[in-house]
Structures are given as C-alpha cells and as structure tokens.
C-alpha cells in the first residue's frame, strides 16, 4: 500500500499537533491529545521503517524557491534514516509517558515535545541541505524551552549553554553548506555527493570537511565540545533527557554518516585516524569521568559521551576493507544507545520523582521498594555495558570487528572502555538500588501502570534487537552499502 506524502505527514503531524495543543487545548486534554498524536506518529514511523524499501517515498517540491537559489522541499528516506525515524517515533511516545505527571504549564510542555519530535523527523528525512539545516535549527527552540522551564538545578544556564554550543556548531555548518552551494550550484544532497569530486570550491576541501564535521561533532558530542552535554542532560526534565540522549545526539552521528562520510569519502579516509583518535578519547575519557559521578543523571550523561565515542570509532574505519561493517556498527550503536539511554534516563527520572534525590550516596536499598524500576535499570545497565543478548552487545561487537583491521591499537584500547563501562554501571546499580534499606524511603512505591508502558516498550526493543539484530542492522547495512556505492568508495 502506497501512502502519498507519508514523509511530510511524519514531519507535520507532530508539528501541527503542537499548534493545535497550543491554540485549542488545555492541560489534561493536551496530554491525551499529545499521546494520541505520538501513537499515530509511532505507527507512521513504523510504517515508513517497514515499507521504505517497497517503493520510493521521496517527495520533491521545486517551486519553493526561485531557480537561482534552488532550495527544494525534498524529502527522502533510505536505510540510514529509516531506523532513526523509527527511534524518534519510539522515544516520542516514551517521552509523552515520561511527562505524564507534569503539572506545571502542562499544555506548553506537550506542545514543545511534539514540536521537537516533528523537527527531528525533519532532520532525518530532509535531502535538501538547506531544509536539513532548517530543521536542524528548528529543533533548538523546543529543547531550549523544555530545559529552561521544566528543568532542575541551573536550568537556565544549561539551556543557554546547550543552545549556544549547538548554534556555534551549526554556524560552521552553515558556512560549509553555502560553500558547497557556491561550488556545486545545488542544495540537493544526493546530487552533491556526485558533484563534490569535480566541484570548484572556494576553500580547501579539508577545511570544508572540518567545518561540516564540527557542526556534527558538537551535537554528537565529540571531546572537547562535550561540555554542554552533562549540564543539559542533568538539568533537563526526564522527557527532554530522553529525547536529548535518545535522538538529538543521533543527529550528530547521522550528519557525520550522511554528510562527512557520504560527501567527503576521500577526506574521511585521509583524516580517519583523527576520528579514531577522538573516538578513543571519547570512550576512555568519558568512561573515566563517568566513574567519578555521584549524580545519577550526570553519570548517564557522561556515559553517553563514552558511548558516542564508539560511533566515531566505527565511522573512522574506512579503508580497512570492511568499511561498511564498521559503519553499520556505528549506526547500530546510535539506535541501541537511543533505546538504552532513553530507558536509563526514563527510569532515573521516575525514581527521582519518588526519592527527590539523584545523589547516589543518598540512595540505596531501593530494590525491594521498587522492583520494576530495579529490573528496568538492570536491563538497561546490562545492555549499556554490552551484555550478549542485548542490543548493546551487537553494536559494540560489530564496531570492534569492523574497526580492528583499520585501527588495531585504537580498537584494543577502546575495548577497555567496555570494562570501565561495566565498572560504573554495576557500581551505580549496586550503590543506588541494592544494599541495606533506608528509613526515609519506606513510604515510596513502585511504577504506576502508565509508567510501566514506556519501560516495557524500551525493554522489548532492547531485547528484540539483541536477539535478532538483523531487524535493524540489515536496514542500516543496506543504506550504508548504497551510500558507499554512490560515493565510489569500496
């Protein structure tokens, strides 16, 4: 069954829902409406994920801008973006459930969540560079408000830091996009891949590659641009943390894959060692800092830095003969990290609602009081450290196998990151959930029915991908293979 305009629907369903929420609804009805919209969105993204190979879903509207400035409304989907869209739909619904108990300015909260979801889907589906950039920037405003209004701690500082870091990164990216346009005369991302080798660029291609990559590196984030992440994650409300870690970081990885690798294959090969180096720094440095954290959310935030290092390492493995394997691993890591870290932030958010503290030494002995949350935290934790049978294992092993021929030493060092991960995850769970019960937590209860749903969704997806990874990895592998054919590498 072909549904015309399905990609536009996926983008505009949440955006228009956000407008409807803002204009017509009030608190309680907004919540129900947002849930309905996100269920619809999950079904649409699921449909796109399953059906994208059956027929060409791309949509093109060339009359948007005059021909002299040929910005097009061009949406398309391939194996690289389809799983990420599914992830967005999945975490979109999770984030609605996560904010079920928001009582302050409820309507606005759901409005921004929906707007955020629409913008992110826009980033993953845009095939016109300027449209891509438009959605890339559009996502900032909802996130800014989500952190600064409903956050905790130094929320205004963190929101501003998140915003300034990201637009500073995108400033470089914008220059890059304009230079590419001046050189190739088009914003069409598919054509650019073909035209890049012959383009008449006004700046050295190495610098252009750097400019584009900086924009994505800030988002991923790559050391030393990662400092916004712990602040933003820690101070954001649960739903925003889930979206931030789950899909917004993936925009950086997606950009690196689609643009840095897809349009600059030669440069990627030339600077692969830099990527590998920073990947290893991210993994080891991120993990080392994580061990030191005493705030649950901050701990997970830093662990994201470490995990995103694996994405970098996977992308760096060009020229090793099995490029596509490492890249597939990197893409798979993005997907699994989205579900795993989403689950971690979700559970910790729920626990915080009850204990009113995230300070690990203050916690302890919660397992008996909240068995469901404990199970959820243990599953997510074990997946995060790469236990076989969970999705985390598949992604990391794929990356290691793919990257080893290209960067042996880096891969060996990176493998030690897994040990560190096991250290901080297990230690965190042990200190916060187990041990002697504390008197101040005697009254607190376990998950409510509404909270079990998102936890269930994520646990199922983690285990399912762990047991049968091909469900996602085949799609990624297919998309990456196509991209590599187009760029002429391997």
């Amino acid at each position: 069954m072909e549904i015309p305009g399905i990609l536009s629907i996926a983008i505009f369903l949440p955006l228009i829902s956000a407008v409807i929420v803002a204009v017509f609804l009030n608190g309680k009805t907004a919540r129900g409406f947002a849930l309905g919209a996100s269920i619809m969105e999950l079904m649409i993204t699921g449909y796109i994920f399953i059906a994208h190979k059956q027929y060409d879903m791309s949509e093109k509207l060339t009359t948007w801008f005059p021909e002299s400035f040929p910005v097009q409304y061009f949406l398309a989907i391939d194996g690289i973006s389809a799983p990420l869209i599914l992830l967005t739909g999945l975490l979109g619904i999770v984030s609605i459930f996560a904010s079920w108990n928001v009582s302050e300015r409820t309507k606005e909260h759901f409005m921004w969540l929906l707007a955020l979801q629409g913008a992110v889907v826009g980033v993953f589906t845009s095939m016109d560079f300027l449209l891509f950039f438009l959605f890339w920037e559009l996502e900032l405003i909802p996130m800014f408000f989500l952190i600064s209004i409903w956050g905790t701690g130094r929320k205004e500082y963190s929101a501003m830091k998140f915003l300034i870091f990201t637009i500073l990164g995108s400033a470089f990216m914008l220059i890059g996009i304009l230079v590419i346009f001046a050189g190739t005369g088009t914003f069409d991302m598919m054509k650019i891949s073909e035209l890049m080798p012959t383009a008449n660029l006004i700046m050295p291609i190495g610098i252009l590659f750097l400019f584009m990559s900086i924009g994505f590196a800030v988002k991923l984030p790559v050391f030393p641009f990662h400092t916004w992440l712990p602040d933003a994650h820690t101070d954001a409300p649960t739903a925003a943390s889930v979206m931030l870690a789950g899909v917004l970081l993936k925009m950086g990885g997606y950009g690196l894959l689609r643009v840095s690798a897809g349009m600059f294959p030669d440069q990627l090969e030339k600077y692969a060692w830099v990527l590998a180096l920073f990947g290893v720094i991210n993994i080891i440095y991120g993990a080392a800092i994580t061990i030191r954290q005493t705030d649950l959310k901050r701990l997970i935030a830093y662990s994201s830095v470490s995990h995103m290092g694996f994405v970098l390492l996977g992308l760096s493995a060009v020229g090793g003969g099995i490029t596509s394997l490492a890249m597939t691993g990197a893409a798979l890591q993005m997907f699994t990290h989205g579900t795993i870290t989403g689950l971690l932030f979700l559970t910790i958010g729920f626990i915080y609602e009850r204990t009113h503290t995230r300070h690990i030494p203050d916690l302890g002995g919660l397992a008996r009081r909240m068995p469901i949350f404990t199970v959820s935290l243990v599953v997510a934790g074990l997946a995060s450290l790469g236990l076989p049978g969970t999705s985390g294992f598949v992604a990391e092993v794929t990356i290691f196998v793919g990257a080893f021929p290209a960067f042996k030493i880096a891969t060996i060092i990176a493998a030690f990151g897994v040990v560190l991960t096991a250290g901080y995850i297990l230690w965190m769970i042990q200190r916060s959930m187990f041990g002697p019960e504390k008197p101040q937590f005697e009254q607190i209860g376990d998950a409510t029915a509404v909270q079990v749903i998102p936890i269930g969704i994520l646990i199922i997806s983690i285990i399912a991908v762990g047991i049968y990874p091909a469900f996602v990895s085949d799609v990624f592998a297919d998309g990456i293979a196509q991209m590599l054919i187009m760029t002429g590498a391997n």
């Binding site: 801008f65 005059p66 400035f69 559009l138 405003i141 205004e156 400033a171 220059i175 006004i202």
Partner: protein
Amino acid sequence: MNYIDLELIIPEISMALLAGLIIVFDLFSSNKRLLVPLCLIGLLVPLFFCIAAAQESAEAGFMGTMQVDDFSIFFKYIIILATALVILSSATYAKRFDNHQGEYYSLILLSATGMMLLASATELITIYIALELTALPTAALAAFIREKKSAESGMKFLILSAVSSAVLLYGMVLLYGFTGSTHLSDIGTAIATQLSGSAGITDHGVLLFSVILITAGFGFKISAVPFQMWAPDVYEGAPTPITAFLSVASKAVGFAIILRILYMVFENEALSSDWTSMMAVLSAISMSVGNLIAIKQNNIKRMLAYSTIAQAGYIMVGLAAMTSDTTLNTSGPVGILVYLAGYTFTNLAAFAVITAISESSGDDSIDSFSGLIKKSPILAGIMTISMISLIGIPPTIGFMAKIYIFGAAVETNLTWLAFVGVINSVISAYYYLRVVKTMFLNSASEQSPIKPSIGPLSAAVISIVGTVAFGLYPRPIIELAREAISTIVG
C-alpha cells in the same frame, strides 16, 4: 518638463495630500478616534498608484531627476507597509498627545513622502532635498513627547542629521566638481570615461574620497558603525512607534539610495573593488560592535537600537557582496532587499509588542516583560517569534534572509565575512533570548493580565504573520526583489 511627468509622483503627491487632509480633519473634528482609520484608508491610495505603476515599464521624468522602476516601487511598498503598521500601532499610544494627534500622524506621512521620493530620486540635489524632507519631520516626531529624554532625542537627531547631511553634501560637491553633472547616470558615464583614460590615478583618489563621504552620510541613515552614535539615545527617547519607524523605514530607504548610487555611479571596476572591501570592513565592525554592546543593555528600546546597528551590519554584507572579481553579482543586492523586507516585518512586530507593553506598564525595561507568558500569551508568543527571527532561526523570514545574504557573500569569495556574520548571529542569540527567557521564566511582580489594545495588537499580528508566512514561503519576496534589482543593474 511636461505635465505627464506628474503622473510619476502620484503616489508621493497622494501621500502628501493625505498628510494635509489629516491636519485639516484634525482642525475641524473633535473626534480623534477617526484619525487612524482615515490614515489607513488613505494609505490605500498611494499603495494603489504604486501597484498601478508596477505594471508599467520603468520611466524617468522631471529631466532625469526621478526614475520610477521596480526598484523604487519595491521600496515604496516597504515604506507604505511600515507607515501603515506604525500608525496602527500608535492608535492608543498617540492619545497622550491630546490635541496634537493630527500633527503626529501627518508628520509620519510627510516623512514617508520624503522616503518615497528618495526611493526614486536619481539626481544629487533631488536626493538631498528628499533626504531633508525625510529627516525634519522625524526629528520633530522624536521630540514629540515633550519631556527631557524625548527632547534630547529630537535635538540629537536634528543636529547629527545636519552634520551627516553636511558630510554628504561635501561628497556630492566633489562628485559634481569632477564630473560636471548632478545626474547619477551622467556621473556614471563621466567616471567611466575618465577612469579609462590615462590620468586615472588622481581622479581615482578623489572619487574614492567622495564615495567615503557619501557612505558616511548615508551610514548615518542606516546607523552603521562608526556613524551609529545617535541611534541608542534617539531610539530610547523617541515615542516607541517612531523608534520603530526610524529603525525600519528610514533604514530601508538609506539602503535604497546607497544601492542606487553604488550601482549607477560607482559600479566601475576600478572603484568597486575598493568600496566593496570598505563595506565589508564596516559591515564586520557594525555587526560585532552592535551585538557586543547590546548584550549589556537593560532597556528594551536601547537593546533594539544596538540590535539594529548589528542588523545594518548583516545587510551591509550584501553591499560588500556586490562584485565578484570583475562582474557585478546580483544576489548580494537581492539579499539586501529580501533582508530589508523581512526586517520590516520582524522589527515592527517587536516594536508593536513593546508599544503594547509600555502602554500598560509605562516602562521600557526588559524586566517589564517578566512573566509576560502568563499576562498575555499572545504578546509573548509574538515577541518570541520576532526575537527568533532576529537571531535567524527558522521558521521565520529572518532565517531565510540571513541564509540568502550570507550565501551571496560566499558566492563572491567573502567567506570570512559570512563567517563573521554567523558567529555574530550566535552572539546575538544570547541577548535576544534573554528577552524570551524573561517572558517565560521570570515571574512578574504583579500578575494582572495585560489586555493589549486593538491597534498595536493587530499591527503585531499582521507583522508576525508576514514574518512566519514569508519564512515558510519566501519565494514571492525573492522574486520581487530580483525584478527590482534587475532594473537598476545596467
């Protein structure tokens, strides 16, 4: 001269007649409430004549001193639009002027008449007279509140405007002395023949000197650094709608006449490389100075004054991007026109909101916006979109205009300038978002809801609809701007 020429300035004549009519009406009628509707209906007449003139081909008249072409009509649209919105947003504000309301509105209309003449003037003396006709009513308007700050504002504007006129005149005199004509087209040909001759070098210097003087004269109009000193004080002291008028219409015609002079007189290869690099430097300085000082401001009008200086800097990027090597490039000037149109919508929305707020709070500090989201969600929403557009974040015209103008810079090998521009946009995000933060996060001292009066509210709504609609579909503006520019590029 023959009477048919009068047809060319029918829009201006009808505008001036409208100003007279308002005064007469004010004299005989005690019902001041009819003034605004009368002005608005009256403005349809010049608008209609402009639309009629747009259907015909370009025509010169009054012995070559005036030229009505798509270029001048584009600016007349902007002027009429800005005048209408400024009058609309003054509807309640002007009540404080009691018996002088008629003068207030007719002075606005007279100043607009001068601006419209300026948009089609092609001869030095005509330009000068039109300029004075623009400036004198504005000076009176700036001092209209008749208290200390406003009087200072009017006085400052008058004196500095006189100084800048003197500088401008000196530049014009030099030009006349070396070419023997006051007609822009004749001057252009004279320069071309002189510079192609052997004695080029000395003339070159003098001509460049006159470019500098003329730029300085108009630099005052567009409040570019280093001719910006008047702007903050005048903006702060003048009645808020007049500040809006100054920041939008006055700036737009400033750019109109600069574009015309640069294209008709100084587009010569030998000169253009010099003045484009001058514009590039001024542009970079304007952006940086405006943005950096704006960060520290606590008065919203003063902040927007510095913001307008920065915005002038962004627009000047288009002036700098006029030539690439030896050929004239049109995307820079087209970018200027698009930017000006977008800036008109965006800034008028912001000022309409400020007018509405100051009516109820009597205060122009940024703190008076505290908790606006609770007091008046619609005003807070409009102000937020306007600030987002000023930063250059989608889905607004500010984003599209910035992309277009920076794109032109990259096309003409001014990547460094585009880079300065985007970095400046990042800096500006900080202070524009401060306003947003104040509205959404700070709690107000008193919670009584603000009920904006119909005038400023409708002006704000119209402007913001324009900001978003053209942000999503900028094609009409770009097409119009391209036609306009194509008439002045020989």
